[in-house]
Symmetry: C2
Subunit: 201 residues, 2 copies
DNA sequence: ACCTCCCCGTGACACCTGTCATCGCGCCGC
DNA sequence: GCGGCGCGATGACAGGTGTCACGGGGAGGT
């Protein structure tokens, strides 16, 4: 009997996944949480063996939760199950110690298998995503560029970004100009969108 | 026995919802599709009574699918089940003839109840969303403004938008300026983001 | 020590953008 | 018929934006 923890902020999806996995005779959902910062505690309390983690969650990212799990409960394995197959996510998930990475596009019947493989110590990574994350490599953005791009995501003017980070307007424009060059964009908001799609933020 | 059709582009979620709903003794999932433009055909072939429709799907929006269902198979009721509780979505869903609107945040056990109510002819609408969609009213955007905002969503410069719709650069700027005023934004990409969040696109 | 890279800043320049006033056209509704 | 409104367009202007050249400082590697 493999003991599972589910973490997804959408209650309906969480409950549905639980129903799906409980149909398998060798799997048992022993905990469900809706926030990333409740994962470690719930995993400890429920004595889970494998944690299915969504990435976009309040409190803590699924990737950060995987890292916390590796640190606090090294015996527990994590499997990232997410909507977005952003190449950068795969890389960061693996670096965070996750044992698997599947997108929510995969057929339902393959999920249980993925769980079993992860439980037995194997790595499960969506092959298309693995290839994609290899070809465009790691993020070329520096720390500042990444930060400023996240602030540019909503289309704020440079002046308000500069105020938020306590920097000169010129400096902000310089960093963003560099980011625009690295993403192949022509506008800061286009650059922000591209970086976001690739999981660089 | 209530006959259900599930439409969601994420295979895992679709399968999981099927598992969840099949646990109910009075419900039966008789069809599953991953595209909006396959809904009507599948509903007819499977003789479904209630259709659970996600909004964001390839081919056809869940809202448009609901409209097509009302036109082609008036006896079939639709229940929108979506990730995003954008106020404008609720309004458009109701106008398209949908009988219900729930977000994927709702507890799993309430979904089956929502299905039963819709099947019995009642309307099921998330109360918070209903209130929200009343207070900020219908979209104030004109057709052109809406179209240009969708092109502005990715942060394209005005010049490329103008080229795509075969309009003068000045005209595009005028329309976008109007949209910026109506959304309370200060930048076209901020306006695009706001309009998108409210379901005006 | 030297080089490289990231960070922060300034100044200047060309270009893009948002706003406004003003025009003409066509389509409704009253 | 006349006003209102959406649509397309032009011109002009202030201010925002992207780019480049050039500084200086600090951390890390050889």
């Amino acid at each position: 009997m493999i003991r599972l923890l589910l973490a997804d902020d959408q209650a309906l999806v969480r409950g549905a996944l639980a129903a799906l996995l409980d149909l398998e005779t060798d799997l048992e959902v022993v905990a469900q949480v809706g926030r990333g910062d409740e994962v470690v505690e719930a995993a400890r309390a429920s004595d889970a063996e494998v944690c299915l983690l969504d990435i976009e969650m309040p409190g803590l990212t699924g990737i950060d939760a995987a890292e916390a799990l590796r640190r606090e409960l090294p015996g527990v394995r994590s499997l990232i199950v997410t909507t977005f197959g952003r190449p950068g996510y795969v890389r960061r998930a693996i670096e965070a110690g996750a044992s698997g990475f599947v997108v929510k596009d995969t057929p339902a019947r393959q999920l249980a298998d993925a769980v079993r493989r992860v439980h037995s110590g194997l790595r499960v990574i969506d092959p298309d995503l693995a290839a994609e994350s290899l070809i465009d490599g790691p993020s070329p953005l520096t720390g500042r560029e990444r930060e400023l791009l996240t602030y540019a995501l909503d289309g704020s003017p440079v002046a308000s970004i500069a105020a938020r980070v306590h920097l000169s307007e010129g400096t902000v424009r310089n960093h963003l100009s560099a980011a625009i060059g690295k993403t192949g964009a022509t506008t800061r908001s286009e650059a922000a969108r591209i970086a976001h799609e690739r999981g660089w933020l």
